[in-house]
Symmetry: none
Subunit: 213 residues, 4 copies
């Protein structure tokens, strides 16, 4: 479901110097880790390049600015999320099963795998200029529309009771899941998927229309 980043396999030549693309990726990896932990503004370009093992010059050869780096991270992450959301939306599933899979696979699974990316996406967004954010906003909005549609579909089909605006519920579900990156320990006893199942149960049993009530 989720893809492996940067395969970087099967290089034939033994390069004396690093491949350019490798340098670029090293910089991105370094920055994701640091931005995720310390935030955009508390992370200096110096530390990013130091961790990546290159010089500042190399950094500015590959990226226009520190903000450019941030934009790229956002873009990569939202692309990934949007793709995952579309898969669930396109599958022919009953509303409750669709919402469950959305929560588990789209919202929660990345919490374990892309902790830093998520932290960056949610906390550092405000440091993107309006122009840099424009593209990302569009994709993010589409992602949100996916979530809303999943809820609305359930209501329309009579599977969910009409508890309130689908948008408010969708955002609640996203929030409940997303929030967990604040406290969930990826190496702890409860996996992200487990937690997703639990949240799906709580939410669905609340939404699902009961026979007798």
């Amino acid at each position: 479901m989720t893809t492996n980043r940067a395969p970087t396999v099967a290089r034939a030549r033994r390069p004396a110097v690093r491949e350019p693309e490798e340098t670029r990726q090293a910089l991105l990896d370094s920055a994701v880790a640091l931005f995720g932990r310390d935030g955009f503004h508390a992370t200096s370009v110096s530390r990013v390049v130091e961790r990546a093992g290159v010089t500042k010059g190399a950094f500015y050869h590959h990226f226009d600015s520190k903000e450019d780096l941030l934009r790229e991270m956002h873009d990569a992450f939202i692309d990934h999320q949007l793709a995952a959301a579309r898969v669930v939306l396109a599958a022919d599933l009953a509303p409750d099963e669709a919402l469950r899979r959305f929560i588990v696979e789209v919202l929660m699974e990345p919490v374990a795998r892309f902790k830093d990316e998520i932290a960056v996406f949610f906390q550092e967004r405000r440091f993107l200029s309006e122009e840099a954010f424009a593209d990302i906003k569009e994709k993010r909005d589409e992602f949100e529309r996916c979530a809303i549609e999943l809820v609305q579909r359930g209501i329309d089909e009579g599977a969910f009771r009409d508890a309130g605006a689908a948008r408010l519920i969708a955002f609640g579900v996203i929030g409940m899941s997303a929030w967990s990156y604040n406290w969930l320990d990826p190496d702890g006893p409860v996996s992200a998927r487990d937690l997703g199942e639990l949240y799906a149960n709580v939410v669905l049993d609340g939404l699902r229309r009961q026979e007798t009530r």
Copy 2:
């Protein structure tokens, strides 16, 4: 339930020179607004004092450091939250009613009134040194224990089905609510309290044991 900040009432004396406490509060207000919007690291002391209408000297007269300011904000906010949580916990309420009130009054109401404080509390915590965070952590942990206890109580009393570890559920509820500071418009058509009621309904109908199932 929530207290009015900055009493500042009934000052009789000369207003030409500002009261020391007034200066201090002006600095805090300025900093909350800026930290909330731009974050701790993207906000300089210069801008804080400029917005407060005082000089840097005054700032360092009232606060030891920029971090000291951040610590104070955290402290004030968690104190406020903890007090509110204790009120709900102490009231003699049925579990579902207690949880509803916790969500509406403790978790959601501040979203409208203390947007900046919340943003600071959730996003800038990582910039507090361990020592500065120690006190706050204790109170924050107690706040979380309050939420957990509310859930656990419901389970113990048989009002809630045992959907999973109370802690995981409590954190889910907190997340669902807290997340809304990211998108809820305080001047929009849906009030924070309304949203709280909605979330309480969703969560409770999920947790409440059904007669027939």
Copy 3:
């Protein structure tokens, strides 16, 4: 005629640290010398502050930016020049005497006294942003109008033959004089005033030997 810059006289206190205004002037003096010799872009703020004996922080305390410094230099110089031009224009002099005094006192005398200021004014103007230049341009234009008026007055009164547009002639006179900052040695045998007298003679009477004179 020309004013002494920065009197700085009669300070009573013996300040342990430098007076702020003194620091500011030291920075300006340092910068004029360096900008004059090496140009704006080839002069770093580091060298300016080093020569002035202060730190970069002090520099940015007194000036908004490096460009601000440049703007200030331009402003001070054109103010000085404009004042001198107005004096000549206001004096009740015959046209040829007025032009002679303009050349000698307004155009040439500063070449000896304000070599660096002149170099900056003529060579570094292009590095002022449009906004920063706006004020200065107005004054510079007025200065040019002074020169043009002196020529035009001579033509109108019949003292000068109408050799061509007064503006073109005025600019020629300015150019002939101003250019000398490129080569005239202030410590050489020919003083700036002497050269001014010579140029005034040439312009007023020409080189060609007249049959009858």
Copy 4:
């Protein structure tokens, strides 16, 4: 009188790959335009190669350094000027006519045609190292000697009155003309040649109306 730069005629071969000499010339043209407008230090090699449509590698293939480029510009320009000066000096002309032609054709005509080259020659000279300037200085000195000789010749022959050291007058004439690159609009109503004629008249005959003429 002045020569066409960059013959570049009659290329028969494939235009897909640029001729080396073409690349070199493109770099020079780009640099002249940028150095002329922004100055040597405010122009980066990056911008030069970008405007020329080549890469940095190509630049350093053709030129040793950025300074090398500047040296080459100076060299080309002074060669051109010197050749023009020699033509006038060699022609068998009366002193006043010789001076007039020098002003019009040697000093003024290039103002319209080689605005950037002139700007570079006069303003960026200081950024040439002593060694790089040595050759150019020799030629420039010879050019100045040409101008001085034209004046001296007139004095010696009794055509000009001995108004002062020929060198000072020659420099005044050069300055009056050269200065015009600062303000003369090549596309304006007054051509560079027209202005040259006017200046020649003023210098030769002066402004003061003679009683008997």
